[in-house]
């Protein structure tokens, strides 16, 4: 079996499956996304996907060399969907905030794909478009080039890193997620002030806060620092 995968364009002999479905790369990716959305991240397996498509699991290997290939195809589809229609408004802080939240939401909508692709550089069209957009926002705001790159770098990595982290949380089996909430409530919530004064003092806030993602807060902190930095630069206080 040298290579049973055929480039999508060259396909012609599309034969229906035993259950009457005509497979295609597109259909497979769409079904995989649906599966993830409907039954949780770990509902995605080659066998289950095959079953959902009404095809033998091994058929999928005519379209993807292995599961990773499938994941990357899904990720690519994701980028397209989440950044497809964004346009800058001119308010650089609001623009970056919107972009950050969008990337984060896009990741959370498809946790598995996000976890696998957050640390990869594809060099493909959608990605290049995104880089150009963000750098544009920062440079038009008035950041000098080295500063724009520094902030872009921190901004994009923070978005991707939080996206992956929070995705990993939502990809946790239900039981584990509930167990974590319980740890915050019954372990951290009950530490005596004698031995752990700071945890005890902030326990209610902790229990409430740790349930949600801190990405919006982290994003706002980053943007606030960037704005301060820009003010300093404008005031002529060179570093």
């Amino acid at each position: 079996m040298t290579d049973r995968v055929v480039p999508d364009a060259a396909r012609q002999r599309r034969r229906p499956t035993k259950q009457g479905v005509v497979l295609s790369e597109e259909l497979i990716v769409a079904t995989a996304l649906r599966l993830i959305e409907e039954h949780g991240a770990d509902a995605l397996s080659v066998r289950r996907l095959g079953r959902a498509l009404g095809a033998d699991p091994s058929s999928l290997y005519r379209y993807f060399r292995h599961t990773d290939d499938l994941m990357l195809a899904i990720a690519d589809e994701l980028i397209g969907r989440t950044l497809g229609v964004w346009r800058p408004t001119g308010d650089w802080v609001a623009d970056l905030r919107e972009l950050g939240l969008r990337m984060h939401a896009g990741a959370l909508a498809h946790p598995r794909a996000a976890m696998l692709s957050a640390h990869r550089v594809t060099g493909r069209a959608h990605e290049i478009q995104a880089v150009e957009s963000m750098l544009g926002v920062l440079r038009r705001a008035g950041f000098p080039d080295p500063e724009a790159v520094r902030i872009y770098h921190a901004f994009i990595d923070q978005s991707l890193a939080f996206g992956a982290l929070d995705s990993a949380c939502t990809a946790l089996p239900r039981a584990a997620r509930e167990a974590e909430a319980e740890v915050w409530r019954s372990t951290y919530g009950r530490l005596p002030a004698g031995t752990h004064p700071h945890i005890a003092a902030t326990a209610p806030h902790l229990v409430a806060a740790m349930r949600t993602s801190s990405y919006p807060a982290a994003l706002d902190l980053l943007l606030a620092a960037a704005r301060t930095r820009l003010d300093h630069l404008r005031a002529g206080t060179a570093d």
Copy 2:
């Protein structure tokens, strides 16, 4: 089988394994960490771990309810190793900076373990100690409780998220890492100013910057924003 796990302290009948090894929670965790570092994250399975220990896989279920429990124990051990000897100096910005860099370095020292545990709450001794320390730094600095929790949350998640992201990069196969560097150099480095003015203008900075982790920069931005916030609070300017 109600629950075959016995709390570690209560263990007494330590019986050697067929191959003469005396199991313990500690030994299991240490072996798991070694396994992960030596043979990669997916080298960690109950069966392989059993083999490495010279014990039947099912024996491990006398010490951990399921694989997840084991992961949490590994995560906590990691925290303990990286934060073991830290003491606050009184300069809260410097302290948090040091803590953040240490956690990041700790993650990179055990990339695969970091990737598996960054998003977990263990509720175990080392973790509790770490939470108490960081909250202490922020509260002594003068942050009111809700603010301290907010900043703690953003700070810890940022450290863990970047730790996991950068770990994932270093865990990439050598070929893939070089391919990514090449993408930056030859794809982003050569885009024409006509179609991609912002990338073209910053290309040298981009190529140079994207090779390194942006965590230190992101950390400094977060701390700068926190300091600004504290100044505002001190000035009595509520919000």
